[in-house]
């Protein structure tokens, strides 16, 4: 098994006719993903290398039974596109788009949560891959290997680095997920590791965080209470200069949290193995699952 996507997922690509959308959608399709449709208002009836284009998500879903949306539309249309996908019946929406205004992001999150049961991954994320089954997004599938470790990360390139270290040691992955580093991500670390815990084919979890925000601290608390599988973690930014504080308001909200030191401490005390460099992720996981 895997989480969120597998060989049965049916993907509709929003912005399939754009350069980025087309490039990655075709790559995903070549990997074996069921890319069943694309949308682009005004271009319904056309196709991109055999993938039919529809004017709306609703049409695409009723014609092709698509259940996952992959979004490449520009930032100014992203909120509308994500909501259209959710109300059009897609259960999972993967939003790759970078540079969406925070107010749009927060607004679409609020509506999704109150009015739909769709899950949103991203925005500003590399998507996810269940190796050997489906790739929905922009991750380089060459570095992955089918197996039993779940990988979740805020950073794109660090996800690749971690996956690469696992694959090098012949440790395969069930699903690799980039949740993105924007202020209001759809799915958080907790949402993902909760699914890894429940997945029978995931034996261990790699969680990669970085400085800023409190998502890692919240995940640590969750791990302590709810996760029985081994967790290997890496936090980037131990030596990074402190980021700008959002006035006094920001300081009051984040308190003493957000630094690499606090994140590492809390994850360690939650029972996770926290490694010092990404290169050590592979060895640490090897040890964790053999022990």
């Amino acid at each position: 098994m895997s989480i969120l996507i597998d060989e049965n997922s049916r993907v509709v690509v929003q912005g399939l006719t754009g350069r980025e959308g087309q490039f990655h959608a075709l790559r995903n399709k070549a990997y074996g993903t069921n890319v069943v449709a694309g949308t682009r208002p005004g271009k319904g009836g056309e196709n991109v290398e055999g993938i039919p284009i529809f004017d709306t998500i609703k049409d695409a879903v009723s014609e092709t039974n698509a259940d996952v949306a992959l979004t490449f539309v520009p930032p100014s249309f992203a909120k509308e596109a994500v909501l259209e996908a959710a109300f059009g019946g897609c259960k999972l929406i993967v939003c790759i788009t970078e540079g969406i205004p925070a107010k749009d992001e927060a607004g679409m999150y609020d509506i999704l949560k109150k009015e739909t049961d769709s899950l949103l991954l991203g925005p500003n994320c590399p998507g996810l891959i269940s190796p050997g089954k489906a790739n929905v997004g922009i991750m380089p599938h060459e570095i992955t290997l089918p197996g039993n470790i779940g990988v979740v990360s805020r950073s794109g390139t660090l996800t690749y680095q971690a996956v690469h270290e696992l694959t090098k040691l012949n440790i395969g992955q069930s699903t690799c997920i980039g949740i993105g580093g924007d202020p209001v991500p759809g799915m958080s670390f907790i949402d993902v590791i909760e699914k890894f815990e429940k997945d029978d084919d995931t034996n261990g979890i790699v969680m990669i965080g970085e400085i800023g925000g409190t998502a890692e601290e919240e995940a640590a608390e969750y791990i302590k209470k709810n996760i029985s599988k081994p967790v290997v973690s890496y936090i980037a930014g131990v030596t990074a200069p402190p980021g700008k504080k959002m006035g006094h308001a920001g300081a009051i909200v984040s308190g003493n949290k957000g630094t690499a030191k606090v994140k590492i401490q809390e994850l360690t005390s939650a029972g996770a193995t926290v490694v010092k460099t990404p290169t050590e992720i592979g060895e640490a996981m090897k040890e964790a699952i053999s022990g």
Partner: protein, 377 residues
Amino acid sequence: MDLFEYQGKLLYKEFDIKHPNSKLVKNLIEIQESVELSYPIVVKAQVQVGGRGKAGGIKIANNHEELIKYSDEIMGMDIKGHIVEILLLEEASKILEEYYISFTLDRSEKKYLIMLSSKGGMDIEKVAEDNPDDLIKHHIGASEELTEDIIHEIIGKAKLNQEYTKSITDIIQNLFLMFVKGDCDLVEVNPLAITDAGVMALDSKVALDMNAKYKHSYFEDFEKEIPIPESEKNAKEKGLNFIKLDGSVGIIGNGAGLVMSTLDVVAENGGNAANFLDIGGGAKAETVSAALEVLEADKNVKSVLINIFGGITRCDLVAEGIVEATKGKDLVWPIVIRLDGTNSSEGLEILKNNPNEKIFIEESMDSAARLAVERGA
């Protein structure tokens, strides 16, 4: 992007938020004769750093003579490394009560957060620590309205003067509108004051969400007025995400997470990074040569570490950029390169075919960092 106080107040004007009458001064000649404001006038240094009051950057002038004297003193003043080049002159009002209010996004709740306190005009972080009950926090979903009822409720909880409920409600509504419609990451007013001239926002601390730049033409105008550190100008012109640091190992990488991690691994190996430089996703050969040029300008750099994990970024293009920027050159410092991911074998092939005695190739991030530290020692 953090705004100057006067820029925040230009937004107040736009959103009908009452604030003192004022004049912006960039050259003292402008106030030589007289100013069209009534005394007393507050002279305020415009710098993007806290503690300007204690540093002598805020003075009250009771007549024209004092105004000239104080303006002259404050203009050019060095406040924690920030040179004062702009003054804001404001009519001083008689303050009856001082409150605090801010609007921001609470990332862990994924909701907007309004904080309100009757203890304004002082260090609000200290209030939050010592008397947390004096700081009222109210979350609001981003698709919800800030209704009059909610505002009345928080004004009550914060124990603000009920006599002014109507004016306070109006100003809170407009500040919230500015926060949301104006795409601000932060709107913080300390103090929000009851004065003899009504309820007014006396200060402004505003940060803009630059992802929303396309929605508002004035974002760019504000941006032009904010000084960029000399060391970062060159990189900014080339469209690179660059931050100058104190060490001697120059860093180039792709993706903020990987670059941050590279700084850490350099430190693990006993070195210190000279900078943070992210060439971003999908970088082309030109981007890489531009990045090397930026590092050349930094005299502290003793060695360079290029750490690339190709996803969208193709390692062959990165290698081409490195060759383009270094071919036939007598390099000032050694460059250690680690390429992995998309098209890495093609990239390594390109580097092998264009050897340079100061370029070294390493297989892992750790060994590359170790060598870069050694070579720069």
